[in-house]
Symmetry: C2
Subunit: 304 residues, 2 copies
């Protein structure tokens, strides 16, 4: 099963205590695609300007990402610039230049429309709904969002949240959306909108997956050498969705495995700037780190 992703493809300038990179490949759809492509075929919908380097097009293509849906428009590519201090959990945005992204409307090529698994990156919730209307073959829809839309387009966001199967949010976003500090209460409010699953991402503290009947708590992989946290959340989502598509199994046990695979892929993504680590990732490395997760979370269970 292949995965369809709609989001941003960007040129990032990033400063961390470990170095600086300028105009490197970034964006939610990019990280998601390269992460998911470690498991399955990915179909991308996004927009870039005529300045978008052809070597980045080739990089995505050689990872098996279908770029039929990548629009190229007159103008400059979306640019994001940010800085991380030693607390790598927190990105300080220096500048955001939407450029060609400001007039973007996602169009699904005919060949994408029967995609069964659809991921909506953290774009305008009205655009997310445009995608849902076109993705007529979708069996599992997953969305991400961000504080910008919670504050600026709450009603439209709520509409999208009510229409998808899986919602991913950061911890602070879930609290902000639900208007309560307590995460269990926030989760209950959000699940009441209709989605089957809520995944709350907590950065270096891992994540929690809520469903009506249960929850699953997963730590993040403890890392010694984080170079650049940019794209960690989208890489997590890509590993999650990529595994589900590969397994063709949307049951709760399969979702739990997908959470661990997402954590594994995200843990690799932050070990290098931009997508450096994602493009060199082997399935042996992924399996080895999944086994490490097994080892460091294991404790003896009580006899029944």
């Amino acid at each position: 099963m292949s995965v369809l992703v709609v989001g941003s493809v960007a040129l990032d300038t990033v400063e961390t205590p470990f170095g600086t990179v300028k105009d490197v490949l970034g964006g939610s759809a990019t990280y998601f695609s390269l992460a998911a492509s470690t498991f399955t075929k990915v179909s991308l919908v996004a927009v870039v300007g005529t300045d978008f380097p052809s070597r980045y097009v080739r990089l995505l293509e050689s990872a098996g990402v279908d770029l039929t849906g990548l629009q190229v428009r007159d103008g400059e590519t979306f640019r994001w610039s940010g800085r991380y201090d030693f607390d790598l959990n927190l990105a300080h945005t220096i500048s955001t230049e939407l450029n060609v992204f400001s007039s973007f409307h996602p169009v699904l090529p005919e060949s994408y429309r029967d995609c069964e698994l659809v991921f909506l990156g953290n774009i305008d919730p009205e655009l997310q709904q445009e995608v849902l209307r076109q993705a007529t073959g979708a069996r599992l829809t997953i969305m991400d969002t961000m504080n910008f839309w919670i504050e600026g387009k709450r009603e439209e966001l709520t509409n999208t949240m009510s229409s998808v199967d899986v919602i991913m949010m950061n911890e602070a976003e879930a609290r902000e959306y639900a208007g309560t500090y307590n995460l269990l209460q926030a989760a209950r409010k959000i699940l009441a909108l209709g989605p089957r699953i809520l995944v709350v991402k907590k950065g270096e503290y891992g994540c929690v997956m809520f469903s009506d009947s249960s929850y699953f708590v997963a730590p993040a992989y403890p890392l010694e050498n984080v170079k650049d946290p940019t794209g960690a959340g989208d890489s997590f989502a890509g590993g999650f969705a990529g595994y589900l598509a590969y397994a063709r199994d949307f049951s709760l046990p399969s979702m739990r495995k997908a959470i661990v695979y997402g954590s594994v892929i995200a843990s690799f993504a932050v070990e290098d700037f931009s997508v450096g680590r994602l493009v060199s990732l082997s399935s042996e490395e992924i399996t080895a780190r999944y086994r490490e997760f097994q080892e460091f979370t294991y404790f003896e269970h009580l006899a029944r």
Copy 2:
């Protein structure tokens, strides 16, 4: 096997968004004792003033806490007053009155000296060493500390840290002591001092247990109704040490179970003000919550 604890017995005044209590039973040795006593016999060393209510003495005694080592001195009992906002992770200290605690020197009654498991609450590291010199039968020594000693008595603290088997610290304290933001690097520095185990507590994000050869990551129990986080860390330590003493097994697998039991006991402790929930806790409730931990951390392992 019984557990020996040295620490504070206090009268706490606590304000949270859910209520206020005044001069209620608190202190590190108190929370630890009541938590550990759910598993085994506890011998307590601490000091109180002549104002210490006799009903609190009876409360501790009826939980099976041996108070032979509780000194009663002329003057007032140690008092702590604090406030929590909606972010219940962070205590805001309003006042600390050491009172009789300021001249405290721990003295182990003869009957305590063959105690095999010793817990040093977060008191002055010089006092912690006085205890270690007297606890001649100790087979496993566990210590807690706090930022106050890291900043004010670093050398003495380092001496104690080099002399014990298990160190417990908050995440911020481990980072501060080691002078590095990265937790794996901090753990390596601290383990190099000599202890077998470092347990880093992360509040609502659970904890990590480091040893030379491995680590274990445990989430905290997700709670909907936290009333008062005071004593959570000491209750965790009490559950941890209590289980180890009960199991008479200090192996790493046993320590992992102890971490989960510690998390379970701490999750109960914060559900009510002061020690209200600890004193009413049944072993059936503890077992049931341990099983919940199993359930919400379980994911399918890869075949070998």
